[in-house]
């Protein structure tokens, strides 16, 4: 133990318990993730062993009962839906968070925050229900069939919006007040201060908000399943139905056998790896600022 505290006095029995418990918790949580990945790999193994990895991406179609396992159209559907939702929700979320933190009267901001926290807690199936009975008919009236990529994008956008707003707000609130005062004291306007002072200072938090929202959009099953139409195809336009990887698992798991079942686990593995890749990308983009790092104390 290279603790600076330990160099003053050895940790008491209670401190040792605390350290042990914290360490054990961390290992358990890390272990769960590892076991999950290993489990997915084991369950997917029959199809990976007998069919191979490449057919999952270059088979002519997804007809698992006939031995055709192409996941690509569903991977594309997943990505299109998530990226589209982010493109819509991110600017709205940033604007709303910036308004709540910097411009809204304090009482209104507090109300907004409560409301948004509530929205973040609404189960996804409720969003799906709304999409199914309101959004899909609206789209269908304009461009049938209604259940489509755009419906999935819009429902996902509404769903991830609260996440983006709440996390962006907390990132903005963590910007030191001295920086804002410093910018104001230089006679800088609101736009300049936001763009050149607040955004760089809150960068890691803003990025975290995007990553978590993207992860939620990639993994969302129920709401998307209810509005996306669930046809396995590359969508030619946003009005075409799509099927996402997660919806596919939910739709077919009940009756899948043998290699079909293993292929579903493989698609779960692909989804998990996609999210992990996203997190890694975010971690690479975000280099922690040294000044902030040094302000944290360490005990061990």
């Amino acid at each position: 133990m290279t603790s600076w505290l330990a160099s003053i006095s050895p940790p008491s029995r209670r401190d040792r318990w605390l350290q042990w418990c914290l360490r054990a918790t961390a290992w358990v949580v890390g272990g769960i993730l590892l076991f999950l990945l290993l489990f997915l790999l084991r369950e997917a193994w029959p199809v990976l062993r007998d069919v191979g990895l490449m057919p999952l991406f270059d088979d002519p179609s997804w007809h698992p009962t006939e031995g055709r396992y192409n996941l690509l159209p569903m991977l594309a559907g997943t990505l299109y839906a998530a990226v589209g939702a982010l493109l819509i929700a991110a600017p709205l979320g940033w604007a709303c968070a910036a308004y709540a933190v910097y411009f809204a009267p304090r009482r209104l901001a507090a109300w907004l925050q409560k409301l948004i926290a509530l929205a973040a807690g609404i189960p996804s199936v409720v969003y799906g229900l709304w999409g199914l009975v309101v959004l899909v008919p609206l789209i269908a009236a304009y461009q049938p069939p209604g259940a489509s990529l755009i419906a999935a994008v819009l429902v996902l956008a509404v769903m991830i919006l609260p996440t983006i707003i709440l996390l962006t707000e907390s990132a903005l609130r963590s910007v030191p007040r001295e920086l804002l005062h410093g910018a104001a004291a230089l006679g800088l306007g609101q736009w300049g201060s936001l763009r050149r002072v607040v955004v760089p200072a809150a960068r890691s938090g803003l990025l975290a908000a995007m990553v978590l929202a993207a992860a939620r959009a990639l993994g969302e099953t129920m709401a998307v399943l209810m509005v996306a139409g669930n046809v396995v195809q590359f969508p030619a336009t946003v009005w075409d139905p799509i099927r996402t990887l997660s919806a596919n698992i939910a739709l077919e798991m009940a009756y899948a056998m043998d290699h079909h079942r293993a292929a579903l686990f493989a698609s779960g593995l692909v989804l998990a790896l996609l999210v992990i890749a996203l997190m890694l990308m975010a971690a690479c983009l975000h280099s922690p600022c040294p000044a902030r790092e040094s302000r944290r104390g360490r005990w061990a």
Binding site: G182, A183, A185, G187, V197, A201
Partner: protein
């Protein structure tokens, strides 16, 4: 006319200032019966302060007496503090600065501010200076380079950072960061500088460097410096003003030339305060 030239006349333009017929002294910052409240709580009462042009005025007094609040009144940073209300008269460079309609952007261009904790932006050294200049209309690269080089030279930082202008400003030491913040303010060619305990977060060597810099800027800028450190006030200040709390709000007890105030204070409170701090 290029943008940087547009900046210059502001610096050189004749400044209407308050003239004192007896001494010929010009006051750059003048407050009359200035009071400030945070919500219901009064923090400053009836402050009538004169800060002479081109001189260093130290604002001293015990912690929590409202020295920093008074400083924030001068460049209207109080507008940003939730619940802050200011009453009374404030003239900066002869211009009434106490109205809601006052152009605070222009006011803050003329009155720079240095904070207690160095607060460089999380940008590169170069951009810490270039960004405010650009926001104030200096766009051409050559003008930016000239203004930034001059400001960094003025604070004695040029030699230390000229080879790493694009490194993060936060990678500098505390003392360097504070001088960068001073360069950032000076690059806008202000007429006055407000300094809120600019040395209190620095190590002794950095304190020496920054104090030397402040002394070197004497005569070129009107400086109002808040300090806890009476020795520092004695080293730097031409004039001193003492704030003292009464019924929870700061009042201006005494102001005058540093030598007079330190050696023969008029108010009993001043004498007692100076004695208690044993300088």
């Amino acid at each position: 006319m290029n943008h940087y030239e547009q900046l210059v006349p502001l610096h050189a333009q004749s400044r209407p200032v308050v003239m004192d017929a007896d001494s010929g002294r010009r006051d750059y910052i003048v407050t009359r019966a200035l009071s400030m409240h945070y919500g219901e709580r009064q923090v400053l009462r009836d402050i009538s302060l004169q800060v002479a042009a081109g001189r260093i005025t130290a604002l001293i007094g015990p912690s929590g007496v409202g020295k920093s609040s008074l400083l924030a009144c001068v460049n209207r940073l109080t507008d940003m503090l939730p619940g802050a209300h200011v009453n009374g008269e404030l003239r900066v460079g002869g211009v009434d600065a106490s109205h809601a309609a006052t152009d605070v952007i222009a006011l803050r261009r003329r009155v720079g501010m240095i904070f207690q904790k160095p607060n460089p932006f999380p940008l590169s050294i170069w951009n810490n200076l270039a960004f405010p200049l650009r926001e104030h209309g200096v766009r051409a690269k050559s003008q930016l380079t000239e203004a930034i080089t001059t400001a960094l030279q003025e604070v004695g930082l040029w030699g230390e950072v000229k080879d790493r202008l694009h490194a993060a400003a936060l990678s500098l030491s505390g003392g360097q960061q504070q001088r960068l913040c001073m360069a950032r303010a000076l690059a806008l060619q202000p007429e006055a500088l407000l300094m809120d305990e600019p040395c209190s977060a620095l190590d002794p060597i950095a304190v020496g460097v920054v104090e030397e810099l402040i002394a070197r800027l004497r005569g070129r800028y009107t400086m109002l410096i808040v300090t806890h450190n009476l020795a520092q006030a004695r080293r730097l200040a031409d004039d001193v003003a003492l704030l003292w709390p009464r019924d929870g709000a700061g009042e201006l007890v005494e102001q005058g030339p540093a030598a007079h105030l330190f050696d023969s204070p008029r108010a009993a409170v001043t004498a007692a305060y100076l004695r208690s701090e044993r300088i």
